[in-house]
Amino acid sequence: MANELAGYVITGLGTGCGFALVGSGLVAIYRVTRVVNFAQGTFAVIGAMCASSLLSVLPHGIAEPLAVLAVALVGLLVGFVAIGRPGTTPQAALIVTLGLAIFAYAVVVLVWGDQPRSFAGVPGAVTVLDGRVQSHYLLVIGVTVPVFAGMALFFGHTDLGRALTACASNPYAARVIGIDVRRMGLLAFAIGGALGALAGVLLTPVQQITFDSDVTLIVNGFAAAVLGGLTRPAVTLAGGLLLGVTQALVAGYGNAAHQTEIALGLMLAVMIGRAARRPAALEEPT
């Protein structure tokens, strides 16, 4: 019993890291542009597909980062279409990203087909606390944690990070001190693209990916991000991990068919509990 538990928890943490990465991409974009990017899950799918293609010619360790980089450019492109025109409202941009996400289905099916794809990750399994876990999950966790630490460093301790945060806080004042708010929005989209792609690239070896895998990822990523009011990466990480572990436990001990519903139900309960305790937490800071 105990050995199963450790395995489920680590598997869940790994999956949760993926949700957290997708969610933090949403956060990165929302903070700066106030746009909820519905194409966020698409970044993960395209990242995974790109990596699977690149791996036929390039070795591991090169193909995956290249795929992430390529999708950062895709993110930039999505940004251009969504917020490139001055005066586009966040609501209009949201619909644009939704349209792009659906359009991306066609592109992905055309280029990579509609069959599930996968590629090899870290081979083998390890024993943790008497439980057997696929080693690849440890890589997922081992990459995600430094990425989040790096993001905290970037947003808090670099000029560009501060400028992005300033745009999120007060775009009007940001312009006045020489920040090109539109450019920062595009940068945010590129960062969001990279984070989404990273989730896709990391998860594909343990969970096959198809053109419509973005739905699961965005639903869970969004739930994780909403927990932090769509603005706090650290809370998003916690939310993603909570979702991942809950789903793994439900699937392990109960019925895998209901894992997403039960996890999202739990998320809803957490949010209602938080809102009841701190009503101000839901208020938009101006």
Binding site: R162, N170, R175, V176, I179
Partner: protein, 256 residues
């Protein structure tokens, strides 16, 4: 040498009502210029036309030889125009120090790659920004608040944060919108000393102010607006003796 700021025939109306009409203004380098006028004179509109928050209907704004009236405000800031608003336009959720540091964005060279790879040049620049920001906080008397959340400061001090933030961007022209409003007498004296100090450093300052007394002690020259037009210009003493100015402030009829 051409003046640092030149405004020519500047016009702007809202719903058919002129807020600023045919305003001409020249501010030479190093001058501390005040723009005064009663409420509704068009001071704030003029301020925002120069800062870039509004576009004019006609006329031009020339800064350092460049015509800037169609430039977005971030480009004007990068060209060296620092802006301090009357209201608290600070970055909530960031500390006072971070608020001031981000003011250096317009003069920062390191890009995304430098920041991500933490290149040596980026780290050196980061140290310089921190140093400049601390200096600017010291100048505005806010050092003790550096690590506090900016939201926790009273309104007057939030304006001080804006000023420190503007200074951190090393401006050549500083625009101040009613900086003395809402301040207590002691705070006003401190502000006056600080502005005086900045002028001594060679900074050109354009000060929009309602309070004539505050301006009289500070300004080299004063431009008086009424109903969107310049009605007088000169030294504080000259302007204070001008009949039209007195009439405008008292709201009396003016016989031109």
């Amino acid at each position: 040498m051409h003046p640092l700021l030149r405004v020519n025939g500047l016009r702007r109306s809202f719903d058919g009502v002129f807020a600023v009409r045919e305003v001409d203004l020249e501010v030479p380098r190093g001058e501390l210029r005040a723009v005064i006028g009663p409420n509704g004179a068009g001071k704030s509109t003029l301020f925002n036309l120069i800062g870039g928050q509004l576009r004019p209907d006609g006329g031009e704004v020339v800064y350092d030889g460049d015509r800037i009236d169609r430039w977005p405000s971030h480009r004007r800031a990068r060209a060296g125009i620092g802006v301090v608003f009357q209201g608290a336009r600070v970055f909530r959720g960031m500390t006072v120090l971070e608020n001031v540091m981000v003011g250096a964005h317009g003069v920062t060279r390191s890009g995304f790659l430098g920041a991500v790879t933490r290149a040596p040049r980026h780290r050196r620049e980061e140290r310089e920004i921190l140093g400049t920001a601390r200096e600017c906080l010291a100048r505005t008397g806010l050092s003790a608040w550096a690590d506090r959340a900016v939201d926790a400061l009273p309104l007057g001090q939030q304006r001080g944060v804006q000023l420190a933030r503007a200074l951190c961007g090393r401006p050549r022209l500083l625009l101040l919108d009613e900086p003395a409003s809402g301040l207590r007498a002691a705070e006003r004296a401190e502000l006056a000393a600080l502005v005086e100090n900045l002028r001594t450093d060679g900074l050109t300052v354009l000060l929009v102010e309602h309070d004539v007394a505050f301006v009289s002690r500070l300004a080299d020259r004063v431009t008086v607006l009424d109903l969107g037009q310049v009605i007088a210009e000169g030294t504080p003493t000259q302007v204070r003796a001008d009949e039209r100015v007195i009439a405008a402030y008292l709201g009396a009829e003016v016989s031109a």
